[in-house]
């Protein structure tokens, strides 16, 4: 780490985090490798400090409010109040609610509330991290240690933080050739702390391993009531040859939430992944997707819809690493910004010298609904060979006045016209999700999100 980076980092709050992590480490009796991983994480994030806006990767997102706030881990036991609040929120999930047949794991404030395996075939591990670490840590040791060692230590403050607080999350291991028809559902609920309790933080560590020719869909939902909270979600996925992952992340936390998430997917030859991110705000949200196409003929599709209103900042950061020949990637991110909402799209595609016959297409489109909303878009294409087909484009604009008039000329009020056009803009990404239940859920949510001055249209 250079001294310049040191000088520009934010050290507020770091000492308290280190103390909290060390306390957790002493509370969990663990094998030596795990203790080493945690303490290495602590010293790394202590040294790094929170990235500041001088760091190119964080230019548009100021973490000072997060660094300044104080958060505490929840006590190990789930209280009755948390249980009740979580059930209430879960019941509001409509088609994805309690009656859904999907195998599911539910966390409340970072602790396991319930695990229902549904009719998962044997041989598939879909378990919470804490249980795996307690009963069979050897199943995750290699992957966790390897991923920590790969970390770009000059960069990954939140990754190191995740190592330091490594405790809970989901472990998914799909054996060779297994195809899971039903999506796996992971629900993360945050509930407001009691009046005497400090705001809560949750560090989630997910580890998904897909053996060759296997496939599964994973749906992660983050739900939250009001009240400040901090979620740091680190998900590492390894896809074997010709494996397929479909990942959907829906982020619906309360208006005072800080949410930082990173999904990193490594692809073997012929492996394919699709990531769908739906972010409806929180106070400060950062979603990073890092896909490494490290096998020939691998492919990835990255889709994102981010919506922000006043008091919300949503930052989407994607990196696609075309490391091998004949890989393809498609990316479409759309932002809808209203009020004084702020959005960021920072997407980079790197095509390495050996990655011939790369096919990469990246698009970012943003819709601005008010005068004070703002979005920063930074698409980047870095190509190191000539035998490629790459394109990228970014547009930011308002609703098309001609379209608004066209709808009004057929009797729709200006509000209904704007709502319909806004909905149509966002629904393109909902339509890309395979699960009808997830689509129905998202359609409802997008309608509910439409700003109060836009009457929610009845769709279909």
């Amino acid at each position: 780490m250079t001294s310049v980076a040191r000088a520009t980092a934010i050290y507020e709050g770091v000492a308290a985090l280190a103390e909290s992590a060390m306390e957790l480490a002493t509370r969990r009796p663990s094998p030596p490798w795990l203790q080493r991983l945690r303490t290495a994480g602590v010293s790394a994030f202590e040294k790094l400090g929170f990235p500041s806006t001088h760091d190119e990767d964080w230019r548009f997102t100021n973490l000072a409010p997060l660094a300044r706030a104080a958060f505490a881990l929840s006590p190990d036991a789930v209280s009755l109040a948390e249980r009740t609040a979580a059930l209430e929120l879960e019941a509001r999930l409509g088609p994805l609610g309690l009656s859904s047949p999907m195998p599911r794991i539910v966390f409340v404030n970072g602790r396991l509330l319930r695990r229902s395996p549904g009719n998962l075939t044997s041989g598939i591990l879909f378990e919470c991290m804490k249980a795996v670490l307690a009963t069979s840590p050897e199943r995750v040791e290699r992957a966790l240690v390897a991923r920590a060692a790969e970390r770009d230590l000059s960069k990954q403050f939140f990754g190191s933080l995740g190592d330091a607080f490594l405790d809970e999350g989901v472990v998914l291991q799909v054996p060779p050739g297994a195809h899971l028809a039903e999506p796996l559902f992971i629900l993360n609920v945050s509930t407001p702390p009691g009046s005497t309790e400090p705001p809560r933080m949750v560090h989630t560590r997910n580890l998904f391993t897909f053996e060759e020719n296997s496939s599964a869909t994973v749906i992660e939902i983050f739900l939250g009531a009001n009240g400040p909270s901090f979620a740091n979600v680190q998900t590492d996925v390894t896809l074997g040859r010709n494996a397929r992952l479909n990942h959907v992340k829906i982020q619906l936390e309360g208006p005072e939430t800080f949410h930082v998430g990173r999904l990193s997917v490594a692809h073997a030859a012929g492996a394919r992944s699709a990531s769908h991110v739906f972010s409806f705000g929180g106070k400060l949200v950062r979603n990073e997707i890092v896909t490494t196409l490290s096998g020939e003929g691998a492919g990835t599709e990255l889709y994102g819809l981010f919506c922000a209103n006043s008091g919300q900042h949503v930052d989407c950061h994607t990196f696609i690493d075309h490391a091998m020949p004949r890989a393809d990637s498609v990316e479409l991110y759309k932002g809808v910004l209203d009020g004084a909402g702020r959005g960021v799209f920072d997407g980079k595609i790197l095509v390495r010298a050996g990655a011939v016959r790369t096919d990469a297409r990246q698009t970012n489109r943003n819709l601005i609904l008010s005068n004070s909303a703002l979005v920063d878009s930074k698409p980047q294409l870095e190509i190191h060979n000539n035998d490629v087909r790459c394109s990228h484009g970014s547009t930011t604009g308002r609703l098309d006045a001609d379209a608004v008039f066209y709808l009004r000329s057929r009797g729709l009020s200006p509000e209904a016209a704007r709502a319909l056009l806004t909905y149509a803009f966002g629904s393109e990404l909902i339509e890309k999700v395979a699960s009808a239940d997830v689509r129905a859920f998202l359609e409802n949510h997008l309608r509910a999100w439409l700003p109060a001055n836009l009457a929610a249209p009845e769709i279909r």
Partner: protein, 265 residues
């Protein structure tokens, strides 16, 4: 009561104040079909836009009454709900909104305004099916996004379909014939004719006699430089086809409204 009564209507482009309509007088009674012709840029579409409430224009003089009510005071959507329909010269593409959903929303908004019950999905689809047959619109186009990727002719047919479904009292058709091939023109025209019912008024903007062979107008008006310079019956259109506009532009633009009034009464 007159369906539409326009008197001394002047309108300018909001942005730069250029006057486009320079005193229009036109009365349409229930059941009448009026054709509006005139050279490019004479203001035909501007008149259609001003009547339908498109933003970007300022009315500086005159008025337009629709069934005795001040049309120009109504917001665009109220005009539509009251029964004014504009078939656009250039229909707008609306990605992500299905034609069927859009039409159902529109028809129910209009019905609500008129104090009618909203149509449920089944009744609406029955209505849509009936009207789609009228303009020979394939089902695939109904399920696609509004006008997105439609051919020029398909867009125009979609306008006629919307008109049929929304059942307006006054339809303004702005060059609905342009871009149509010969068969499509016949289909669209017969769709329009099916909507002639003795009550509905129509203002048909066109450049070509060809359309008026199918939709036979009660009156023909010629707009030139923002004024109606000549009015007559269907034979006027035939004369124009033969002689061109220069023939009219040479004539003194006298007693235009009187002429139109004389024919109308």
């Amino acid at each position: 009561m007159n369906l539409l009564e326009i008197s001394n209507l002047h309108a300018s482009i909001e942005e730069d104040g250029t006057e486009i309509l320079k005193g229009i007088d036109l009365t349409i009674c229930p059941g009448e079909v009026h054709a509006l012709m005139g050279p490019n840029g004479s203001g035909k579409s501007t008149l259609a836009h001003v009547l339908s409430g498109r933003p970007g224009y300022v009315v500086t003089q005159g008025r337009a009454l629709f069934q005795g009510k001040d049309l120009l005071a109504m917001p665009a959507e109220i005009r539509a709900r009251e029964g004014v329909f504009l078939a656009f010269q250039y229909p707008v593409e609306i990605p992500g909104v299905s034609n069927t959903y859009f039409l159902r929303t529109a028809v129910n908004t209009v019905r609500k305004h008129r104090g009618q019950l909203e149509l449920d999905a089944i009744d609406f689809l029955a209505l849509l099916d009936e009207k789609a047959k009228l303009v020979e619109m394939e089902e695939a186009l109904l399920n696609r996004s509004v006008n997105e990727g439609f051919s020029g002719g398909e867009k125009k047919r979609n306008e006629v379909l919307q008109m049929a479904v929304l059942d307006p009292k006054l339809a303004i058709l702005d060059e609905t014939d342009s871009g149509l091939d010969i068969d499509a023109l016949r289909v669209a025209a017969s769709g329009v004719n099916a909507l002639r019912d003795g009550a509905r008024g129509m203002l048909v903007i066109t450049h070509y006699q060809r359309l008026l062979d199918y939709i036979i107008p009660d009156f023909v008006h010629v707009l030139s430089d923002g004024r109606i310079v000549k009015s007559g019956d269907k034979n006027l259109a035939k004369e124009l086809e033969a002689k061109g506009y220069s023939w009219i532009e040479k004539e003194p633009p006298a007693t235009v409204s009187a002429a139109a009034g004389a024919i109308a009464s």
